[in-house]
């Protein structure tokens, strides 16, 4: 149940929960707003803290490898979401010298 509550709090839950809690999350600005910021919050934090992701600095290949490994571990990320998340993560948590 704790996991379900965590996911719901950042947009993965039923619609009646999603709006106000998303508003709260946005108000705290845990990560820069972007096309896939909600996906990062809702998908990554099912299993680990946000900091585990946001302390990383990776290039496109590095982020793709991480996302693909998370998908292999069962992260509920669809193909279009995968591309959007990698784009967002490279943009906001990229490493210019990275792969």
């Amino acid at each position: 149940m704790a996991l379900a509550v965590g996911a719901a709090a950042f947009g993965g839950g039923p619609p009646y929960l999603r709006l106000p809690l998303r508003f709260l999350a946005a108000a705290a600005d845990p990560i820069p707003q972007g096309a896939a910021s909600g996906l990062v919050l809702s998908r990554c934090m099912i299993c680990h803290t946000l900091e585990v992701a946001t302390q990383q600095r990776q290039g496109p290949q590095g982020w793709a490898e991480i996302i693909d490994r998370m998908i292999s571990y069962g992260a509920p990320i669809q193909a279009d979401e995968r591309a959007a998340m990698i784009h967002y993560l490279v943009q906001h948590f990229g490493d210019p010298a990275g792969r």
């Binding site: 302390q55 990383q56 990776q58 290039g59 069962g74 990275g98 792969r99």
Partner: protein
Amino acid sequence: MDKPLVFRMDDLKKLPMITQDMTIECAGNGRSFHKPKASGVQEEYGAVGTARWRGVRLADVLAMAGVRPTGKHVAFDGADKPPTPQAPDFIRSVPIWKAIEPRTMIAIEKNGGPIPHLHGGPARVLVPGWIGSASSKWVERIMVITDEFDGPFMKRSYRAPRAEDEKDTYSLQSLEVKSVIVGPSDGDTLQAGSMTMWGWAWAGEGELTGIDLSTDGGQSGKPGKFVGQQDRYSWRKWEYVWEAKTGSHTVMARASDSLGRIQPATRAWNPLGYRWNVIHAINVNVA
């Protein structure tokens, strides 16, 4: 094993106990200094610590269960379970020679009390001198197997390239030889005159043989001294008396050990950011 056994905490407490001061360092300590950035928790200097552990020899427990000659590795599974069915359970193994080393233990006390949950209590494995992930927390199940455990935490993680070929990797075992400067701190302003610098050094399976200090950015160096008792598998405090003169100084510490290892000036990049034991350098101002 000849006869699988179940031990409860009371059973463990009836066995002979050993006490060991032991330094545990994460294999990824210093990962954040790799360029480009390596994947993983972005540790700097702090993922290391030393405590006094008390527990039973793993060798005693294995002997009670009867290890067969084909048993070459010992794998540990903890009570931590993956968050999804697809994610791998954290299971790692060590070779039998290390598992039966007299100071490898199932610990049930840390610093004189029960092991706090975050540190692996109520019972954890301690594999002295090895990377932290060898010392499995919350141990529930111990398996004697014929080969290194076949799972991603042995075959993918905690491995580093032997040389330039990124694909030719080996499983990390002993910690590197390493030292850190604790006092003064990077960026400190100090008064001119005599001052005692200090820090810690450790060497995994090696034994520390020296600590050298430089106060001119590595152009010249002088030996520091270790203080207190030497205790295998525990870090050792070092000190160096410096006659500090006015100006800006880059202070560096470099440890060496009985395996012929010396802290390097650089470390080759590796994908998961391991083995960072590059010479620690800080900048101080003497007013």
